[in-house]
């Protein structure tokens, strides 16, 4: 039986640093607290979590860029600590953002350089690079300097680089961050196609709809620990007996928010500032009761656009993150 594509056993990482100028003080920050995880071959796995939760640390350990403090990280049965040279030939990684490319060189030069560093034989890279440029919609612009590329093109170039060695496993760390909706959708489609073609993909994101749209299975990480794991539907089921009431108000007083929280069946209240108003999201077990009591709780505060809907993955995520914090 084939080993899992990715496996973590009691994976821990603690960063050590110092602070202070004259009186140096050692500081330890725990990034991962004993993660256990198993991802099968061909799966598109999503890791969700807020900033600083440990997503990037986990990706960097699997991609051999970081050593864990304890525990083990295996990719394709290879130890990410000891077998880094063999593993680097068989996996790819893509980090989100503008950086990580030579802006003064062309996209083609970037790909050729990294193909050599990935030790791809020239007879293969000569075929693969044009294929990747075609597949990722960069054909015709490959000789332009990267500094002339749009953000979406840069991100697709990152992805092309991650695929140069035709990896069995691909790690994508927030690949759609900063992309416009069209560019993000294109990239998600490409990622889905790669997974359908049999590649194992480990994707980190904090966009819930992204995980919902493309991932076969997801895990939610908070403060270095996994708080939920399963298919997007099974995670949504965690709040299946809940409903969501959303409404807009202008000038929501703090005591009204407190009043909402005391209503029967309310599990969480989130307030998001909009341009002139605030969007209030209430997770509750009985949406009808909440809507009935709204005018009493708000006590004359102007109220618009009241709606009730089914919970989404984002609602489940907010509840999970809220529960564990």
């Amino acid at each position: 039986m084939a080993s899992p594509a990715i496996e973590a056993r009691q994976l821990r990482k603690t960063y050590k640093s110092t602070r202070g100028v004259f009186r140096r003080e050692k500081v330890e920050r725990v990034a991962l607290r004993g993660i256990d995880l198993k991802i099968e071959r061909g799966e598109l796995f999503g890791l969700l979590g807020p900033n600083g939760a440990g997503k990037t640390t986990m990706v960097k350990i699997f991609t051999t860029l970081l050593l864990p403090t304890s525990g083990s990280a295996l990719v394709l049965g290879l130890d990410a600590v000891k077998d880094q040279w063999a593993l680097r030939r068989r996996m790819g990684f893509v980090f989100g953002g503008d950086r990580g490319l030579y802006w003064r060189l062309s996209g083609l030069d970037n790909l050729r350089y990294f193909a050599d560093l990935y030790r791809v034989p020239p007879e293969i890279s000569r075929k693969r690079i044009p294929e990747l440029l075609e597949r990722l919609g960069l054909k015709g612009r490959e000789r332009d300097r990267v500094e002339l590329y749009s953000r979406g093109m840069k991100q697709r170039l990152h992805l092309a680089r991650g695929l140069l060695n035709d990896p069995d496993v691909l790690f994508l760390d927030e690949p759609t961050i900063g992309l416009d909706p069209v560019g993000a959708r294109e990239l998600r489609n490409i990622v889905r196609e790669l997974a359908d073609a049999g590649k194992t993909i480990f994707l980190t994101t904090h966009y819930m709809f992204e995980a919902d749209a493309v991932c076969d299975r997801i895990a939610v990480i908070r403060d270095g620990g996994i708080v939920a794991e399963g298919t997007p539907d099974s995670i949504k089921n965690l709040v299946k007996d809940q409903g969501v009431v959303e409404f807009e108000v202008v000038g929501m007083p703090a005591d009204s928010i407190a009043g909402l929280r005391t209503l029967p069946g309310v599990s969480s209240v989130a307030v998001e500032d909009r341009e002139l108003a605030q969007l209030v999201t209430v997770q509750c077990s009985r949406p009808g009761d909440v809507i009935t009591h709204l005018s009493t709780v708000l006590d004359g505060v102007p109220l618009t656009k009241v709606s009730s809907r089914e919970p989404t993955l984002e609602d489940a995520y907010v509840q999970l993150i809220g529960e564990s914090s």
Partner: protein
């Protein structure tokens, strides 16, 4: 093995191309050497200055440019990779860091050698200065030994910049120290004895001494001994570098200091 050679060659080619398109590189190989050469030639060509010392003006600016590009660009190149966000990307490839740095250092050395062209032209056309008694064979061998010493120092020290961001702040001190101690623009005989002792521990000192000696018939010269000193001291750097790379490969993965953030 062939794929490693190709990776090193590719790092060399990219290093040269990045220098060609970077305006900052021109400061190191063209502007600064010309400034140093102009000042040196002006001072050494004034009435009363020793004629044999004029060669320090002819070659000194080029030497400074050569060293700056080889060493500073090595360190600065790593810092640039960090700022670009490419340092982690390089580190995560199946090519060992020493191979990539070897390619980059060779690219810097090639570029640095160009520094001699504008400074020699300035000396010849601007100050009508020529080397008094050039021994071409010994000059070429001395330049090759000097190149080897620069290569070994840059190859050994560059990974420090990958590992410790603060090492970059020391770069100017070491660069200027080598200018002075290794006698790029004046004979180290004018330094106090203990500084001459320190200079003797640096490989470029002996190669530079041989280089200047090959341009003049004055004094007693022991070329073979100087070349051997330079090569032996360079090898010490190279052996030290071997252990340094092992340390960098491990420590960078412990601390996660390859990224900018």
């Amino acid at each position: 093995m062939r794929s490693l050679v190709r990776a090193g060659w590719s790092a060399f080619a990219i290093s040269v191309r990045l220098k060609v398109v970077s305006p900052w590189a021109y400061l190191n190989w063209l502007v600064f050497p010309m400034l140093f050469a102009a000042v040196g030639l002006y001072v050494l060509s004034r009435p009363g200055a020793s004629g044999s010392h004029l060669v320090y003006g002819i070659l000194g600016g080029g030497l400074i440019g050569y060293w700056s590009v080889a060493y500073i660009d090595g360190g600065n190149g790593i810092q640039d990779e960090r700022w670009n966000g490419t340092l982690e990307q390089l580190f995560g490839t199946p090519t060992p860091l020493w191979v990539i740095i070897l390619g980059k250092v060779c690219g810097a050395l090639l570029f640095g050698l160009i520094s001699f062209v504008p400074t020699a032209a300035l000396a010849y056309f601007g100050f009508h200065a020529v080397m008094p008694s050039l021994d071409p064979a010994r000059f070429v061998i001395s330049l090759a030994v000097l190149t080897f010493s620069f290569f070994c120092i840059a190859q050994a020290l560059t990974p420090l910049f990958a590992l410790w961001r603060w090492a970059f702040s020391m770069i100017n001190g070491f660069e200027l120290g080598v200018y002075v101690l290794c006698g790029f623009m004046f004979p180290i005989a004018i330094l106090v004895p203990w500084l001459q002792g320190v200079a003797g521990a640096l490989a470029p000192t002996w190669a530079v001494r041989a280089l200047y000696a090959s341009t003049t018939a004055e004094g007693a010269h022991d070329f073979v001994a100087w070349w051997l000193y330079a090569i032996a001291l360079s090898l010490v750097f190279l052996i030290g570098g071997y252990f340094l790379y092992a340390l960098v490969e491990r420590e960078a993965r412990v601390s996660g200091q390859l990224a900018l953030a």
